[in-house]
């Protein structure tokens, strides 16, 4: 059956003419902004009839990935208008939201009620919740609350044929695989996430900040794991090497080769204090000493964007499991030094999988390197990180790709759902 309406007409009908516009400079591409999950389903059905690609663009902060789409028409679906809180269940501490609300937008709703999404890195919360969940990258985690995707208790999504699925809400279940997980991380290729039910938290009763100086990066990593083994669950923890610490806090803060640990603990007062003390004793056991708490206060303010960051953002990141963390740090920094540059680095985002090392390349005067010089160092750092057993941002396991392709072929035989994502 050939459609009697054009794609543009169908999109107008689905979301209203005010919310469809042609993408400038891209023939056969429209940006649509559905105002309800049912409209997403309409858009997908329209796209399906026209064999058009459905490309989720979240709040539109990043340009959509359009490689490998050829000449086929494209519908860029922005979730900008899907930014409502549908239901706030304060009894169960669950929050049902539309996928287009940002983490920060949601915090604004939760905060006056004494609630919070949890102690996740604030830098990730600028993204939409749908985007946070649909794209799996490391660092979306907290030592206190675990991985962000584990906060998803249920979701609704539109499949390629326009059907909407709702995974039922339960704290845990034993009724087959966790079907919501097919949508999490699949970048819109198996379905378009429209709403999510998230676990939320009461705002911590107490929060303590502390800063320490350790004799070395290795000592700092060891102290951190010592405390984590004693079940300390910090709300945030960051290890800064000497160069990074000086950049952040001033030249006099550490001697060469020393490292700074800043930590925040939160929870019921006694428990938050306990976690603070566990970290302090682990630091002492590794030969460290307490530093001025103002360092931690400054870090925390910057983390919440209450103080400007001492930019630029890190140029390179590598994730490593606990046993490979030190090796990855030394390998990358060593390689960068051998290439004639000066690295500074911090380690944060500690979770059950490990942590992330963030590296910035600077010259002898401490000025950040840019352009070709930085790109070359990135290659050097990547090779070193890989050799040390670290995982690079954007790395993918190709081994499971054939199964993902099969799933896609079954759920989406015409290949309309974000066809450029998770390929190659």
């Amino acid at each position: 059956m050939t459609p009697t309406l054009t794609l543009a007409e169908e999109l107008h009908r689905a979301v209203g003419a005010d919310h469809v516009r042609p993408e400038p400079g891209q023939p056969d591409a429209w940006r649509v902004e559905p105002g309800a999950p049912a409209e997403v389903a309409e858009v997908v059905r329209a796209a399906s009839r026209h064999r058009a690609a459905v490309v989720p663009v979240g709040s539109g902060s990043r340009p959509p990935r359009v490689r490998a789409l050829g000449d086929r028409p494209r519908v860029h679906v922005a979730t900008t208008r899907l930014d409502q809180v549908i239901h706030l269940d304060e009894t169960s501490l669950l929050c049902h939201v539309q996928a287009g609300i940002t983490g920060l937008g949601l915090e604004k709703v939760l905060s006056p009620r004494g609630l919070s999404l949890g102690d996740y890195p604030p830098s990730i919360l600028g993204s939409t919740i749908g985007g946070l969940v649909a794209v799996r990258t490391p660092g979306k985690s907290s030592a206190r609350h675990g991985f962000f995707e584990d906060a998803v208790v249920g979701l609704s999504a539109v499949l390629a044929d326009g059907r909407t699925i709702h995974t039922r809400l339960a704290p845990r279940r034993a009724t087959g695989p966790d079907l919501a997980r097919a949508l999490c991380g699949s970048e819109g290729t198996l379905g378009f996430i429209t709403t999510l039910v998230l676990r939320i938290h009461r705002r911590a009763e107490a929060r303590f900040l502390a800063a320490y100086v350790l004799p070395s990066i290795d000592g700092a990593v060891a102290a951190t794991y010592l405390a984590l083994r004693e079940e300390a669950a910090p709300a945030g923890l960051r290890i800064l090497d000497a160069a990074e610490a000086r950049h952040w806090f001033g030249a006099g803060v550490v001697r060469d080769d020393e490292a700074v640990v800043v930590a925040a603990t939160a929870g019921p007062t006694d428990l938050a204090a306990c976690d603070r003390d566990l970290i302090a004793s682990a630091v002492r056991a590794e030969g460290g000493r307490a530093a001025d708490v103002e360092l931690a206060e400054l870090w925390w303010k910057r983390r919440l964007s209450a103080e400007p960051w001492p930019g630029p953002p890190p140029m390179f990141q590598v994730t490593a499991t606990p046993s490979k963390l030190r090796g990855a740090y030394h390998a990358v920094c060593g390689a960068v030094r051998s290439a004639g540059a000066f690295p500074r680095a911090h380690i944060s985002r500690f979770d059950a999988d490990g942590a992330v090392v963030f590296v910035t390349f600077v010259d002898a005067k401490g000025a950040p390197l840019t352009g070709g010089a930085a790109e070359k160092l990135k290659d050097v750092a990547e090779a070193a990180a890989r050799a040390a057993g670290g995982w690079l941002l954007g790395a993918r396991s190709r081994e499971l790709d054939p199964y993902l392709h099969k799933l896609r072929a079954i759920l989406d035989p015409d290949g309309i759902m974000n066809p450029g994502a998770l390929v190659g």
Binding site: S92, I165, A170, A232
Partner: protein
């Protein structure tokens, strides 16, 4: 489709040799069932074991598993993975026959990587051996189902099992970092790596809970915790179920993580105190294999078997009530008791009222914490204070220790209840806190129309909790057992679905709950069906389970 047993034997022997394949009747009978109570009706009636697998095979290596799956695919016969056989939902019943693959000979603890807190373990390892090996090295997996002596790591993963200490350590799906699966196509896939780094969906979570329908889990990388340095267990009393539920919710939502929380409803509390001190003399005489209580200083698991005179048999308060019924002189006469079970509504309300009056104190709540010494001490103080603020009354350590001592005390023989013509089973549902009391009353009423029913609340999370119903019933007419049994499950599970609960928290689906999977997942079943087609294109893996339509039904 006709299956040629000789051909099956020949093909399997070519893979594993003659000693690890069996077509003997006694083996086929054994592997025809798990511990699903409904299967006992046929046993009690003396019916033959049906359906049975065509063959049982014991592989020792992944490459043998691969070859078995490929052979089965070529023959067009089903493959049913088998671990400890402790499932209670009929998940391993070979409804279309086929090859039952017992993985218990793949039972190596390959590595314990203490610095990563990861264990690399084969699927067939028994829970008990796994936990003992870890304890020796100073770690725990934290998964202590009451079946730990008779279940395997692979079985836990296949069913999304929960241990008694799940409130701290999580369910098994919360503790798995990656696994190896032999798919229905005979391919080996590894879902490892720091999964969040790799992009794409989390395949581990798409395989855990698949109950053998996508492939055979052959090994897993599981997250460990340091062995606990301190354990604190206590009992409390609350006025009623609602007050207890509220107290638990407050504890969990303050960010406190006890290892175990158990709240017994009025009838459960009443029966818990009711039969204590009475020994089930019948059971002792028959020399039942009871798992004994742990001895002081023995760590998490007691040695099995213990000395008979130290064993205190106990298969739950309801069975204790029934046992009293069977002791002619001391309790109700058997026929009178059966008559009572046949009038569950009267008994439920009667016993409920009596229970409330006798146990005027209300409901019992057991709470336990364990972990690193300093943090656990502080957390325990916070938990106990929170409970008391919520109106709970401290009963001291004794009730907590008593629970700890009896937590593996399950019988491995047919319960005396069944021999007497009645039956007992358990139903574990879960929901968010907002729906929980609704779930409790709805399911309790639904089951209570047919059976004497009691419940406890356990496995608590910040957002909700599971409820564990135990029920006993007796059909008046011969052959009415299965009808009554099915009616109880139908009404109970439909009630759970109606109020927004899940039909299973940790026992899994199996055959029992397969008809209710569509009500549970509705349109989302499309995802499950697609997973099935992607990983098991010929539908040979445990067909007819998980609510998936078996292609061979039409053959």
């Amino acid at each position: 489709m006709a299956v040629d047993p000789d051909r099956v034997r020949k093909d399997l022997e070519a893979i594993v040799g003659p000693r690890r394949v069996s077509l003997r009747s006694v083996d086929l009978d054994t592997y025809a069932r798990d511990m699903w109570p409904r299967l006992l009706f046929a046993r009690r009636a003396g019916a033959p074991y049906e359906p049975r697998p065509h063959a049982v095979v014991w592989p020792e290596h992944v490459r043998e598993v691969v070859a078995i799956v490929r052979a089965a695919r070529a023959l067009g016969v089903p493959v049913i993975p088998y671990g400890g056989g402790s499932g209670v939902c009929g998940g391993t019943v070979p409804i279309f026959g086929g090859i039952t693959v017992d993985l218990k000979r793949m039972a190596t603890l390959r590595a314990v990587r203490g610095d990563e807190l990861i264990a690399d373990v084969d699927a067939g390892l028994s829970g008990e051996r796994f936990e003992r090996e870890l304890a020796r090295r100073g770690f725990t997996f934290g998964h202590f189902p009451s079946s730990i002596y008779c279940s395997t790591v692979g079985g836990w993963l296949a069913t999304r099992a929960a241990g008694q200490l799940s409130t701290k350590y999580g369910k098994v799906e919360d503790r798995v970092a990656g696994l190896t699966l032999v798919t229905g196509a005979g391919d080996v896939i590894d879902t490892d790596g720091p999964s969040r780094v790799l992009g794409g969906p989390n395949w581990t979570q798409l395989i855990v809970g698949s109950e053998g329908t996508l492939g055979l889990i052959t090994s897993a990388r599981l997250r460990l915790s340091p062995a606990p340095q301190l354990k604190v267990y206590r009992g409390f009393e609350v006025d009623n179920v609602a007050a207890g539920v509220e107290a638990i919710r407050r504890v969990l939502q303050r960010g406190l993580r006890p290892a175990v929380v158990r709240l017994y409803d009025e009838l459960d509390t009443f029966l818990n105190s009711f039969g204590k001190g009475h020994r089930d003399d019948d059971a002792v005489e028959r020399g039942h294999a009871w798992a004994p209580a742990p001895l002081p200083g023995e760590g998490a698991l007691p040695v099995l078997p213990g000395e008979p005179d130290r064993q205190e048999p106990d298969d739950g308060p309801l069975a204790r009530l029934l046992a009293l019924g069977r002791r002619g002189s001391r309790g109700l006469r058997k026929d009178a008791f059966s008559a009572l079970l046949s009038r569950p509504r009267i008994v439920n309300s009667l016993v409920g009222t009596v229970a409330e009056k006798v146990a005027r104190k209300g409901c019992k709540l057991i709470i336990g914490l364990e972990g690193a010494r300093i943090r656990t001490e502080i957390e325990a103080a916070l938990v106990f204070a929170e409970l008391e603020r919520a109106g709970a009354r401290d009963l001291g350590e004794e009730p907590g220790k008593a629970w700890l001592a009896h937590r593996y005390a399950v019988s491995y023989r047919m319960s005396p209840v069944f021999r007497d013509g009645a039956f007992v089973d358990t139903m574990e549902v879960a929901s968010s806190w907002e729906q929980l009391l609704d779930l409790y009353h709805s399911v309790r009423d639904a089951i209570g129309r047919h059976a004497v029913v009691m419940a406890h609340f356990s496995h608590a999370y910040p957002e909700g909790c599971s409820i564990y119903f135990t029920f006993a019933a007796h059909a008046d007419d011969r052959g009415g057992d299965e009808r009554l049994y099915d009616a109880i499950w139908r009404d109970g599970l439909e009630a759970a679905t109606r109020v927004g609960g899940t039909i299973s928290h940790h026992h899994g689906v199996g055959l029992l709950k397969s008809p209710y999977m569509h009500g549970e997942h509705r349109e989302a079943m499309a995802i499950l069906a697609s997973l099935k087609r992607a990983l098991d294109p010929d539908d040979i893996m445990n067909p007819g389970k998980l609510g998936l339509v078996a292609s061979r039904e039409g053959r």
